[in-house]
């Protein structure tokens, strides 16, 4: 490794020099910071200032630079030195903007500034410039699991971008549900009539595409490895195994209709004249094939009246059926009603709904149906009974406010979709635990669950992608809908959330985009979202490892397996660089080049802790860099003041907090530690999904440590922070500081 040459740069601009004694800061950088070069500048982010730094890098051989000016979130384009290790001392947003400009405050403000300079120096000395993952795969072939509309779309779109695709379909033909549709909901102006389902055309394009290799009657037997170097075993019809090298994976395994047999009260199973939407598509296809109108299944007689029951077994609040709405069924019933009306306008078609949901241009489709004479009634169906060849549908008409009993030749139940995701991992892992304990039932259960596995990942944390809600596969959902906890494995179509064909195709195109991106970045050793492009990756000193498995269990992204000797086996290209493993490691053998126990620990130690008589407590704040730290920054920008005794260190995620930082701080005489992380739980806001949750779990154990040290447990406080807490966070800090001041000074000062 090249010689280390350190430098500290202190900006005087934005009134820093008016508010603090910059010379003293420089002294701190030289004396305590022990920097080889220390320079002040009136306007460090100016062209001249930047040139000064660049010159030191080019001609003075500076390898590590502490830039003490504004927040790391500001002036990023100016302070951009890719080949140099950079730390930022936040003197502006972090000090002078959150302190009053008064003589009284001057001393504490100065101390604060000096500490931040020391911390920046300490941090940068502990950093390395990330060199990137030496262990990249570089395979650029995409695996798409599922040959329905979503899967076919992903395959075609990826190929169109110039990538090879392996498309695996478990049935004997491509097309999935869509192929079973007589027609599909219109996809373009004027949105008035059903369209051809378009499957045959897509299948033809796939067969003609030399980039796409299709396996029919095939499933994934095993998926091993990492992004850019997956080794996939495909079980094909003959029983043989085909091996493929894969860069990224799209799971597009679609859905099944909710089982209408669970709805006897709606007459399903009691009469062949009560069908679900798929059943009706079948009737429509057969009729079309025979060139006849759709007939009544029970006796083949013509249909004079059809009733469509929306939300059958959906939007259920009793916990018996599906709680969610499947989104596509209103348009589908409209389409199916048109099957009848387009053939013979005299056939009565009635759609019974509570809320008709035809968003966007679906409104045109709705109007078109009304225009064709489809009748829509707002009503709740309580019962469907069948006698002979007719059914009678009981419902409450919510407009005319009366109970109605109407006769129909055919009743169609809109039952909605159930995702074809793999086994739910928590349940599976629990079953595994019991099975290992010798529970026979559990063993059964495991076998049965594993039979549902889609990907058969060899990951320590389970064979499939974790699920999020209602059995749909993982999704960050709002800002980053494609993000899953399995790097380079993306979900497309109804396996991710209920959706119609048009959306599924859009979704599948987006998933292809993400998968292609994942392959490209895996090949370069770059992290995927949210630390996209980050070249740092975790390294472990195995000699120190006690095989406690915490890292392998906690990694939110299943990046760490166990090798034959039960040591953690890091799969760097699965890693998202959140540092949860580092936080979890009790023996602190895991670190990143630019983020480690030491980069933070040395900052904690760099802070000057006055003695117990000074009445100047020290409070350590470890703040999530994604939400809490920006909130503190903006508090500064809005000049919200907070206590001068806090020292803030940004962390990648609460999950990366190693308890040693807390104990070190307390042993070092800090009076309190405040941890700021994102909301966790069902509506989590953590960008590493489970990071803040795991961090909090870990911290819940710190109480004992404190007791052991005879300290008040309140000295360590965990606050949930949102990025908008700009005004409230300073208040929380001040309240906490007041609490700490109400305690006697830490007995550990001066040791």
């Amino acid at each position: 490794m090249a010689d280390v040459k350190t430098a500290a740069y202190i900006c005087k601009g934005c009134e820093i020099d008016k508010r603090v004694d910059v010379a003293a800061l420089a002294k701190a950088a030289t004396k305590s910071g022990k920097m080889n070069i220390v320079r002040e500048h009136d306007f460090l982010c100016s062209a001249e200032g930047v040139a000064m730094i660049q010159n030191d890098i080019d001609n003075e051989g500076v390898t590590h630079a502490a830039i003490c000016a504004c927040s790391r979130r500001a002036k990023t384009d100016a302070f951009n030195f890719p080949t140099t290790a950079i730390s930022r001392g936040n003197l502006r947003e972090g000090v002078i903007w959150i302190r009053p400009d008064t003589e009284a405050a001057r001393e504490t403000t100065q101390e604060m500034a000096e500490d931040y300079v020391r911390m920046a120096c300490a941090e940068v000395k502990a950093m390395q410039v990330p060199q990137g993952n030496p262990n990249t795969g570089g395979v650029k072939t995409l695996l798409v699991v599922g040959g329905g509309m979503s899967g076919m779309t992903s395959a075609l779109e990826a190929s169109k971008a110039g990538y090879k695709v392996v498309l695996v379909e478990k049935t004997g033909a491509l097309g999935g549900w869509t192929a079973k549709l007589h027609k599909r909901i219109p996809t373009r102006e004027p949105f008035k009539a059903p369209e051809d389902n378009g499957v045959s055309d897509m299948v033809a394009r796939i067969e003609a595409d030399s980039n796409i290799k299709v396996y029919l009657n095939a499933t994934i037997a095993k998926t091993d490895g990492s992004p850019g170097r997956f080794k996939v075993e495909i079980a094909i019809e003959s029983g043989a195994i085909a091996n493929e090298d894969i860069g990224a994976i799209i799971q597009a395994t679609g859905f099944t209709l909710y089982d209408a047999n669970k709805l006897p009260e709606l007459g399903y199973g009691k009469s062949p004249n009560v069908v679900d939407q798929a059943g009706l598509e079948g009737l429509a296809r057969d009729a079309a094939a025979a060139g006849k109108p759709i007939c009544r299944p029970s006796d083949g007689q013509p249909v004079n009246k059809v009733v469509f029951v929306q939300c059958a077994g959906q939007r259920d609040t009793t916990g018996t059926h599906l709680q969610y709405c499947s989104g596509f069924c209103c348009n589908t019933s409209i389409k199916q009603a048109m099957y009848f009306k387009d053939g013979n306008p005299d056939i009565d078609t009635v759609v019974l709904f509570t809320d008709l949901r035809t968003p966007g241009n679906g409104e045109d489709f709705y109007r078109a149906a009304q225009n064709k004479g489809v009748i829509f009634s707002k009503g709740v169906v309580s019962n469907v009974s069948a006698s002979g060849n007719t059914c009678s549908v009981k419902f409450k008409d919510l407009i005319l406010n009366e109970e109605v009993d109407t006769q129909a030749d055919l009743v169609v139940l809109a039952t909605g979709m159930v995702p074809s995701s793999g086994p739910e991992l928590d349940a599976l892992n629990e079953a595994n635990r019991l099975a290992e304990g010798g529970d026979e039932g559990a063993k059964e259960q495991v076998v049965q669950m594993m039979s549902k596995s889609v990907l058969n990942l060899t990951y320590r944390q389970g064979p499939d992608v974790p699920q999020f809600k209602h059995g749909f596969n993982d999704s960050h959902f709002i800002c980053f809908p494609y993000e899953t906890r399995r790097t380079a494995i993306y979900n497309a179509g109804p396996v991710r959330r209920p959706m119609d064909i048009l959306q599924a195709q859009e979704d599948a195109t987006g998933a292809a985009m993400k998968a292609i991106q994942a392959m490209e970045n895996a090949g370069l050793g770059k992290a995927a979202h949210p630390r996209a492009g980050d070249l740092s990756f975790p390294t472990v000193r195995l000699e120190g490892c006690t095989q406690c498995k915490r890292c392998t269990v906690e990694c939110p992204f299943g990046a760490i397996d166990e090798d034959a000797k039960r040591f953690p086996l890091f799969n760097e290209s699965r890693c998202r660089r959140c540092g949860t493993c580092m936080g979890a490691c009790p023996v602190r053998v895991i670190s990143f080049e630019n983020y480690s126990v030491n980069t933070v620990g040395s900052q904690i130690k760099a802070v000057d802790v006055p003695d117990e008589f000074s009445e100047k407590p020290r409070i350590l704040i470890l703040a999530c860099e994604n939400d809490a730290y920006p909130a503190l920054d903006m508090a500064g920008m809005n000049r919200h003041e907070y206590d001068p005794f806090v020292r803030v260190i940004p962390i990648r995620c609460l999950g990366s907090v190693n308890t040693i930082w807390i104990t070190d701080a307390l042993n070092g005489g800090y009076d309190g530690v405040m941890l700021m992380g994102c909301k966790h739980g069902e509506e989590y806001q953590c960008h590493f999904v489970k990071g803040s949750e795991l961090g909090r779990y870990r911290l819940s154990k710190v109480g004992d440590t404190l007791k052991g040290m005879n300290l008040e447990t309140e000295r360590v406080m965990d606050v949930e922070v949102a990025i908008t807490d700009i005004a409230t966070l300073p208040q929380k800090i001040n309240d906490y500081a007041a609490l700490i001041k109400s305690f006697p000074p830490s007995p550990f000062k001066g040791f």
Binding site: R367, Q370, D397, V404
Partner: protein
């Protein structure tokens, strides 16, 4: 009259919506309603008594096949032809005309409420203006007052005396019209012939529609 009603009822075997679509002027719009209620809320008479069913509810009742309730309803006759519903309807349903159309149909097949005052006005007005080609306001007024018989008529006339006198003073009511000395068209014969033909054709068309 009422046998025409039976014929229709039979012809459309309780497919009342179809009956309205084919027989009532603008009836084909009934199916387009999405039950938002904007028409009902926009009706100037809405906050007075008398509306047993507002337009959007009438439309729903038609779809639900409530034939008698609709045809015998007073509601359509409450329309003031203000066209508020018509211009606001988010589905561009010409509500005013649909209501008129349903009313006219109910009346045509003898199902509308007996002695419905607006209906009486409607008939009186039309008879009056087609008789001479122009409205004879006095006769119109008289025939309206005396619709419930002489006694009621005089009573009403007394009530309205002030109004009438005011108008006479203002030369806006010409008592002579009462004895027929009033504006009329020259070619009354032509008009009568024209209307006879029009009525004949109209009846013919409606019958054709019903047969189809």
């Amino acid at each position: 009259m009422s046998d025409l009603n039976q014929t229709m009822a039979a012809r459309y075997q309780n497919n009342f919506l179809k009956e309205i679509e084919e027989q009532a002027e603008m009836g084909e719009w009934v199916k387009m309603c999405m039950q938002c209620g904007l028409c009902s809320g926009s009706c100037p008479t809405n906050f007075q008594a008398g509306w047993d069913h507002p337009p959007q509810e009438i439309f729903m009742m038609i779809r639900a096949g409530k034939r008698d309730e609709v045809l015998k309803s007073n509601s359509m006759w409450m329309c003031t032809s203000c066209y508020n519903c018509y211009v606001r309807c988010p589905r561009k349903v010409p509500v005013t005309h649909v209501m008129h159309g349903i009313a006219e149909y109910a009346y045509r097949i003898g199902q509308s409420p007996k002695n419905q005052p607006t209906q009486h006005l409607s008939k009186t007005f039309w008879d009056n203006c087609t008789k001479t080609g122009r409205v004879n306001e006095v006769k119109l007024t008289q025939s309206l007052y005396f619709k419930d018989g002489i006694g009621a008529g005089i009573k009403k006339a007394m009530e309205m005396q002030a109004v009438a006198l005011g108008l006479v003073k203002a030369k806006r009511l010409n008592p002579l019209e009462a004895i027929g000395i009033a504006h009329k068209c020259k070619d009354i014969k032509g008009i009568q012939a024209m209307l006879a033909k029009a009525n004949e054709l109209e009846a013919q068309r409606k019958a054709e529609k019903a047969k189809a």
